[in-house]
């Protein structure tokens, strides 16, 4: 329990650090977002409305910085995220984010977890069959695939499966625009076919890392005395492989998974951009294009929260799987 409490403390601390960065970056970077905002909204908004918007953005020149900061923190945590000042001027950010979030969770979330699960499994087998056909080819291949740029794999897949096949698989957007969103088979099919290429991109580029680390952990674990002990006891191979080897080798991989999620999110932003997939990453790109500062702030916070939640879930899983983590406190 103390272990989890300490990890939760880290969660809060990191979130606070991210929010603080978020607050101070616009205030200390060259180029005034305030001026950009005035220029953008010129002739579109009355001075009163502009003032309102600035207030919701956290700009209150008459207040001191500390008060602004505290109020900003409260607003972020309570979900009062203000309104967009980009292309969708005046729309509440909560609504914009609410529309994009399910798509990112569905695509990036599922693809990432799938890559991790599949990669770990292949890594277990490769590490177990040391020197086998799988093990001699895998490392070289996956060292290379894990170094591929996400967006370039996306472009390649579009070229091969969409352009060269005359549009066999869609390369754009999240579903066919002609359909109305409902639970009909046609719509679900359209959503799935639009997800194939982006999901494949994430899978191809992220699976290599999981396979390699899992294989390496597995090899290290299999050299341990308790594995030899299990062999001496005459346990079945599958029992040794999963119960003794994989179970222990998996722990570092799990914490590695949490730590590298930030990198996966980076890739996912580019993948969503290439496929015009209307998730959070695509939203961030648009926010940058339209200098929509409030939206950028909220998105950065959400990405941080997503990683932190994943880290925390992994920590909880480690505490559950590994008695040593619990005992150490």
């Amino acid at each position: 329990m103390r272990y989890l409490l300490r990890r939760f403390g880290f969660f809060v601390l990191t979130l606070w650090a991210a929010l603080t960065l978020n607050f101070f970056i616009p205030r200390f970077m060259p180029g005034s977002p305030l001026q950009a905002l005035r220029d953008r909204t010129h002739n579109k908004l009355s001075p009163v409305a502009l003032q309102d918007m600035l207030t919701s953005f956290g700009y209150k020149p008459d207040q001191n910085l500390l008060m602004q900061y505290l109020e900003y923190l409260r607003n972020m945590v309570t979900g009062q995220w203000g309104v967009s000042i980009g292309a969708t001027l005046g729309e509440p950010i909560r609504d914009i984010v609410g529309q994009a979030l399910p798509w990112t969770l569905g695509l990036v979330g599922v693809a990432t977890v799938l890559a991790f699960a599949l990669g770990s499994l292949v890594g277990i087998v490769a590490g177990w069959r040391r020197g086998g056909a799988l093990d001699s080819v895998l490392p070289s291949v996956f060292v290379v695939t894990s170094a591929l740029p996400y967006f370039w794999v996306a472009l390649l897949l579009i070229l091969v499966f969409s352009v060269w096949t005359g549009g066999a698989l869609p390369s754009d957007f999240n579903y066919d625009n002609a359909l109305t969103p409902d639970w009909s088979p046609a719509f679900i099919g359209s959503v799935l076919s639009h997800a194939i290429l982006p999901a494949a991109t994430i899978l191809i580029t992220s699976i290599g890392g999981w396979i390699l680390t899992m294989r390496n952990n597995m090899i290290t674990t299999l050299a341990e005395d308790y594995v030899r002990m299990a062999r001496a006891k005459g346990l079945s191979n599958s029992k040794i492989m999963y119960g003794y080897g994989a179970r222990n080798a998996f722990l570092p991989n799990l914490s590695g998974f949490a730590m590298s999620l930030g990198f996966v999110i980076s890739g996912a932003i580019l993948v969503e951009y290439v496929f015009n997939y209307p998730g959070l990453g695509y939203l961030l790109y648009n926010a940058v294009q339209n200098t929509d500062y409030p939206l950028m702030q909220v998105l950065f916070m959400l990405f941080t929260v997503a990683v932190l939640v994943a880290v925390f879930v992994c920590d909880a899983a480690i505490a559950w799987l590994d008695p040593r983590a619990r005992a150490k406190g």
């Binding site: 970077m29 170094a147 472009l155 070229l159 050299a223 941080t304 997503a306």
Partner: protein
């Protein structure tokens, strides 16, 4: 790690020999050398001198004059690729170097100082490790206006050091109570001397591996940033080529080479760092090396 921790020249020679006979290291190093040549002397590989000028007929297919064809704007793709190598390589090496220096400073001093300093430094490291850096970089680059080379280098260093710092801290912690450090302390050496001349040399291979990892991260991230249009659109680099090809819909308009060629280069340079990195891992941890049947017969 024990073989590497030995500081005798023999140990170092053994590392070098192991690397030389490692196929992954050979391939990785060869790719790097080719790119280094392109970066140092681009004029030897193409007759074009100003690759960004709109000097040719647009949209030419590959031919002898234009090995990879021309862009829809009338630039020679091969020439852009050759001249673009320099910036991508500079970003990788410079950002990788500074990020490594930072991670050595933070990681080693955190572990060696211990106590409160360690708590503060390792908490900062962990925060930087977890915060999703790419969105942060995008936002920073947006506020900073067009990302010049310097801006890109700075954000890459600021966001790229934490992973290495974490590893180096762990490694230093495991060394802390070794006898040779104890004897240095007894001799009355200063802390700075012990860190620089006693601790660091034992971690050379880990530091090199960290440099390779940071360089790989920098190559990929810089290319991604430039691809999104957050770099300088007039610079000559692979990422900028990718930006323009996407901007001009190269894939859809029958010029796939315009997107594919710079992507292959980014991927190859990335692969070269990744292969070298993995080779270093194999040298440091012989258990990971591919099993060779010959060895068994030799009775080793």
């Amino acid at each position: 790690m024990t073989t590497l921790a030995m500081r005798a020249p023999a140990a170092r020679r053994r590392v070098w020999n192991a690397l030389r006979h490692n196929p992954k290291a050979t391939v990785g190093l060869s790719i790097f050398v080719v790119f280094a040549l392109l970066a140092i002397a681009p004029q030897l590989f193409t007759s074009v001198r100003r690759p960004n000028d709109l000097a040719f007929t647009p949209t030419l297919p590959p031919s002898f004059d234009h090995l990879l064809g021309t862009t829809t704007l009338g630039q020679d793709i091969w020439a852009q690729l050759v001249y673009g190598t320099r910036q991508s390589l500079v970003i990788a090496v410079v950002a990788g170097l500074f990020a490594t220096v930072l991670s050595v400073l933070v990681g080693v001093s955190a572990a060696y100082l211990g106590g409160l300093a360690d708590d503060v430094l390792s908490t900062i490291t962990n925060i930087f490790l977890v915060i999703p850096t790419f969105p942060l970089i995008i936002i920073l680059a947006t506020y900073a206006g067009q990302g010049t080379l310097l801006v890109i280098l700075i954000v890459l260093v600021v966001t790229g050091w934490s992973y290495g710092a974490n590893q180096l801290r762990a490694q230093t912690l495991s060394l802390r109570n070794r006898e040779f450090l104890e004897s240095a302390r007894v001799r009355g050496e200063r802390r700075s001397y012990i860190i620089v001349f006693e601790v660091l040399p034992t971690m050379t291979s880990l530091i090199v591996a960290n440099f390779l990892g940071a360089a790989l991260y920098s190559v990929l991230t810089a290319a991604g940033l430039q691809f999104l249009g957050l770099g300088d659109p007039n610079s000559i680099s692979w990422g900028t080529m990718l930006y323009w090809s996407q901007n001009q819909q190269a894939l859809q308009s029958g010029l796939p080479l315009w997107s594919i060629a710079p992507g292959v280069c980014v991927a190859l340079l990335g692969a070269s760092f990744a292969l070298l990195n993995y080779a270093f891992d194999e040298v440091g941890n012989p258990a990971l090396r591919p099993i060779r049947r010959r060895r068994v017969h030799r009775g080793q």
